[in-house]
Symmetry: C2
Subunit: 340 residues, 2 copies
Amino acid sequence: MGNIVFRVCVFSLVLFSGVALAEPKVAIALHGGAGTISRSVMSPAQEAEYLEILDQAVELGRSRLLEGVAGVDVVVEVIQLMEESPLFNAGRGAVLTWDGQHELDASIMDGETLQAGAVAGVTTVKSPIAAARAVMRQSEHVMLAGSGAESFAASVGLEVVSNDYFTTERRLQALDRYKSSRQAGLPVAPTSKFGTVGVVVLDVNGNLAAGTSTGGMTGKRWGRIGDAPIIGAGTYADNQSCAVSATGHGEFFIRYQVASDICARVKYQGKALETAAFEVIHDVLEPVAGEGGVVAVAPNGDVAMIFNSEGMYRASIDGNGKKTIAIYGDGAAAGASSDG
Amino acid sequence: MGNIVFRVCVFSLVLFSGVALAEPKVAIALHGGAGTISRSVMSPAQEAEYLEILDQAVELGRSRLLEGVAGVDVVVEVIQLMEESPLFNAGRGAVLTWDGQHELDASIMDGETLQAGAVAGVTTVKSPIAAARAVMRQSEHVMLAGSGAESFAASVGLEVVSNDYFTTERRLQALDRYKSSRQAGLPVAPTSKFGTVGVVVLDVNGNLAAGTSTGGMTGKRWGRIGDAPIIGAGTYADNQSCAVSATGHGEFFIRYQVASDICARVKYQGKALETAAFEVIHDVLEPVAGEGGVVAVAPNGDVAMIFNSEGMYRASIDGNGKKTIAIYGDGAAAGASSDG
C-alpha cells in the first residue's frame, strides 16, 4: 500500500514539477561481510540484531547524503557506526591474529579526484577508516602501515585506544577454536566467515566514494595484509565508472583486482554495473574458489550487491529510493525490500 | 652489417626449416628506475657503468629464458642481479627512510596462474624479490608486511642480513641533503629520482611474469608503502593481456592502478601493448603530474618501455630479438639498439 502511494506521488511529481525531476539522486550500498551465514545457526534474535544495525547504517547514510554531506565523509560516518558495533569484524569486534592481537586495515577512495588513503596493520587507532581518510587528506601518501601509521594517526589527533578495546568474548573463542584445530592438524576453514564492512555512495554532487574496514582473518600471521587496504582490490571509486567495496577471501581479491576490474568492465566494455559485478564474482572468482562479494554503486544511482558465498550482510537504497536489507543468498532474503 | 647477416639467416631459416618457425619466442624488458636523469650531471664513467649492468641483466634474462627457465624464476634472478648492484634503489644501494633505516618492498606475479606474492617494509631480508616469490609459493597469503614478513622469510630459509648491508655512502648523503632541505623549509623534490628495479618476461612456454623491487623514497616516514609491493599498481601479469612493472611516484601509480589498467586496456579494448602503456603514462598520469614509467611485455613478444620523466634506465630484447639499452628520453638514447 505504502508502495503504491509512493509510486503515485513520484508519478505526480514527474508530471507536475520540473523541480522534482532535477532533485539530485543519492544512493548507498553497504556490506557487513560475506561467508557461510546459515539460517540454521542464526537465532531469530541474532538475525534481528543484524537487520537492525544494517537498517540503521543505511538510513544514516541516506539521510547524511540528502543533507548534502560529501560522499567520502558519509562513507566514514557509516563505517564508523559499523566499526563500533561488535557484530562486525572491523573496529570493536575485530578478529584476533595468531598472537592474540588485533591488526586492523582500512581504505577509502574519492571517485571525483581519485585520491585515496589506506592504513594496514594498525593496532591502537580507534577508527581505522578515519585514519585512512586522514592519510588521504593530510599526508603525501596513499598507504601507511604498522607503527608508522599509528604515529601519523596520533600526530593528526585521531583517537587512540588500547588494543583490547577491540576485543570481544566471541572473537577470543573463535581464535581458541581456530588454534586448537590448527594445532591438532584438523582441517580449518579460515575463509568460512568474513565480517569486513564496506560502504559505497553516490552523493548529491554526483560524486562516488568507497571505503572498507576490517580486522582481517582469524589466526592470521606474519603481518598478512588482505585486500581491504589495497586500492583496486578491496576498494575502488571512479566517477567515470563505479565505486566498489569488497569482502571475502582477500588473497583472491588482490590477485584478480576485484574492485578495479569491475570498474574497468563498466568503463571499457560499457557493461551495466550489475553485469560487471556479476561476471567478476561468479565467472572469474567462483571457478577458482575465491569466496566473497561486493557492493557497488554507479553514477546513475544503480546499486549492485553480488556474492558467491552462502550469505552477505547487506543493505542498500538505490537512486530511485528502493531499499533492500538482507542476509542470506537464497532469494527469500530476511529483511525488507521496498520502494520508498 | 651484422644486422643484414642476421636477417638473411632468419629469412633462410624461415624458408628452409619448419623447426625454426616453431622455435618459441622469448622476450624481456627491465627498468632500473625513472626520474630526472640528465646527461649534464652524468659522467661518461657513470653512464658506462649503468649501461654495462643493464646489458648484463637483460642478457642474463634472455639466456635463462632460452634455457627454458620459468618466467617467474628468471624475473627473480635478474632482479637479484640488480638488487645486489649499489647503482639501483633496491637491495644494496636502497635509499634511507627519515629514521636512517632501509625498508624494502617487492612483489611478483605469475601471468599463467595469476598467483602473486609481495613483501612490504622488510629490513633484514637480503633479497626482497626472493621473499615475494616465497610468499607466493610457500604461504597462503599474497602480501606480508614488516617483522611478520621477516619471520616468514627466515622460516623458509631465506638469507638474512643486518640492515646496514643495504647502506651506501651515496644514499647516506642523499638523506642528509633531504633532511637538511626539509628542516630548513626549502622545497624538496622527493620525486625527482627513482631507482626501483623491475623485470617483465615472456618465457618459452608462453607464460608472462612481472616483478618489482624497491627501497622506496628517500626520507619516507610513517611506514609508507608505495606501489612496488601493490599488485595492480607496481606489478601485474596476466597471460591474457600483458605483464607490467612500474617505477615512479608510487602514490599516483596506486591511485591510477597503472599496471592493471594497462592490461585492462589491452584485454577489454583490444589495444596494442605500446598504445595502452602510452595512454596510461602520458594521457592519464602526465596531466596530474604523476611522474614515472613502465616496462611491459605482451604474449606475442612485443615489449614497451614508456615514461614521462626525463629518463628511465631500461633494457629489452623483444620477441624478434631486437635489443634496446637506454637511459635518457631525448630520442638519441645512450646505448645500443640492434636486431639480433
